[in-house]
């Protein structure tokens, strides 16, 4: 079966700083893969490359068999035109650390925007889908509220609904609880757990180790721009092979 995500030999630098140095990663349908590692290990950058929010210099990223972002043309690597990039971005959904809801739109309109503009659905159909997902994340009661009227946890749940309503093949979660007050973390994690249980394919960057252990089918430990260790959560958390991972886990709360 074609994997949902196949990353091959991915390299990425910011100027002289090498951030990703040869990443290979395969995510099958229904997998929930957590990326863990210390700050600066390249987790978030990897996620942003998959969503084409970052350019990368070498390697390929395939989503459902389609190479995204670049094409080879006469031996030269070229960035695809913007329209095609936009279409490919919609194959994945992304939830951000800072939610990034559109402040001038209600929760409902936030979720409807992509459905209307990208998927070209009619207002009624878009509204029905948006309401379904707002209900799923427990935000249907607040659908007419603006982001500024919602708590951080509520905003993040709307943001997740906005991404997932697009019916992406892969959901990307970028530290979705890192800017939340501790008491709001669980409501967001519950939503992610619920989606995972439903078979949604996910790539999750997180600092919540307990959550990563519980929810993942695979855990990937990144260190200095590489995948240092990967495996099922029991193996990664229970029997770390490398000293670096053992050290990292010792310093994290589980």
């Amino acid at each position: 079966m074609t994997p949902v995500l196949k990353i091959t030999d991915l390299h990425k630098s910011f100027g002289d700083v090498k951030v990703l140095t040869g990443i290979d990663l395969t995510v099958q349908k229904g997998d929930v893969v957590s990326l863990i590692g210390s700050s600066g290990s390249g987790k978030t950058t990897l996620l942003r490359c998959v969503n084409l929010l970052e350019e990368f210099e070498r390697g390929t990223i395939e989503i459902a068999g389609e190479a995204i972002g670049y094409r080879e043309e006469g031996g030269r690597r070229r960035r695809l035109p913007e329209r095609q990039i936009a279409r490919q971005r919609a194959m994945t959904g992304m939830a951000f650390q800072q939610f990034n809801l559109f402040p001038h739109m209600t929760a409902l309109k936030n979720v409807m925007l992509g459905l209307v503009k990208t998927k070209k659905l009619g207002q009624d159909e878009a509204r029905a889908i948006a309401e379904k997902w707002l209900d799923r994340v427990g935000m249907i009661e607040r659908k007419d509220h603006f982001p500024g009227q919602l708590s951080g946890g509520q905003q993040q749940r709307v943001a997740i609904a906005r991404a997932i309503a697009m019916n992406p093949q892969l959901m990307l979660f970028d530290e979705v609880t890192s800017s939340l007050d501790p008491e709001l973390v669980q409501e967001v994690l519950a939503v992610v757990r619920d989606l995972a249980a439903d078979g949604m394919t996910m790539l999750i960057v997180t600092h919540e180790m307990r959550f990563a252990r519980d929810v993942s089918t695979k855990v990937v430990f990144m260190d200095q721009g590489r995948i240092a260790e990967e495996g099922p959560p029991e193996a990664v958390f229970g029997a770390p092979k490398s000293e670096r991972l053992a050290g990292f886990l010792a310093n994290s709360e589980i």
Binding site: N51, L52, L53, E82, R83, A86, R87, R89, A90, T92, G93, M94, F96, Q98, N100, L101, F102, P103, H104, L113, G114, K117, T118, K119, H145, F146, G148, Q149, A159, R162, A163, M166
Partner: protein, 220 residues
Amino acid sequence: MDLSLFLDNLWNARMSLLAGFGNTLLISLVAVILGSGLGVLVGLALSYGNLATRFVLRVYTDFLRGTPVFVLILACFYVLSVVGVDLSAFQAGVLALTLFCSSHVGEIIRGALAAIPKGQTEAAKSIGLTFGQTFASVLLPQALRQILPTWVNTATEIVKASTLLSIIGVVELLLATQQVISRTYLSLEFYFFAGFVYWLLNFLIEQAGRAVERRVSIPQ
């Protein structure tokens, strides 16, 4: 000051003053509408254009903003006719105010766009929006709300600057007033009256601006 004498003369001069006021309104309205439309494009290009475009528009906005409106009006009227573009005084004046307005709106739009967090564009991209869609649905509505007070201020500046068109012979409210004064010699009264009308017009513009601001404000 003889009030009934002034009121008699005001009544007699009502048609010419009204025509002048109408011109003031028309000039300001056209300049603000065209100038704002042009200004949005200028702001867009200043924010997202390539290096050459940005450089040219930087020079354009800095030059226009750093030049007295009076000089712009004279330039549009006299210089353009030298190079073979024959505009009426009215057209030249409106052109000058439009350019002036576009440079100010361009600069405030650029500032407002720069103030929108990068995450907004990224979120829009992540749901598959193209740049055009992102600009129209996400960035511009936020930028316009942000610039509203400054933009209203620019509109009142345009109204005030429209008086300068009297120099090139456009009969707007100020020149109409001066013509009445030259017939009646009631200079103090009529200048005071014209001043009051300008103040009232700008006061109404500001009130309308505040009303719109309240209407489009985002609930917190």
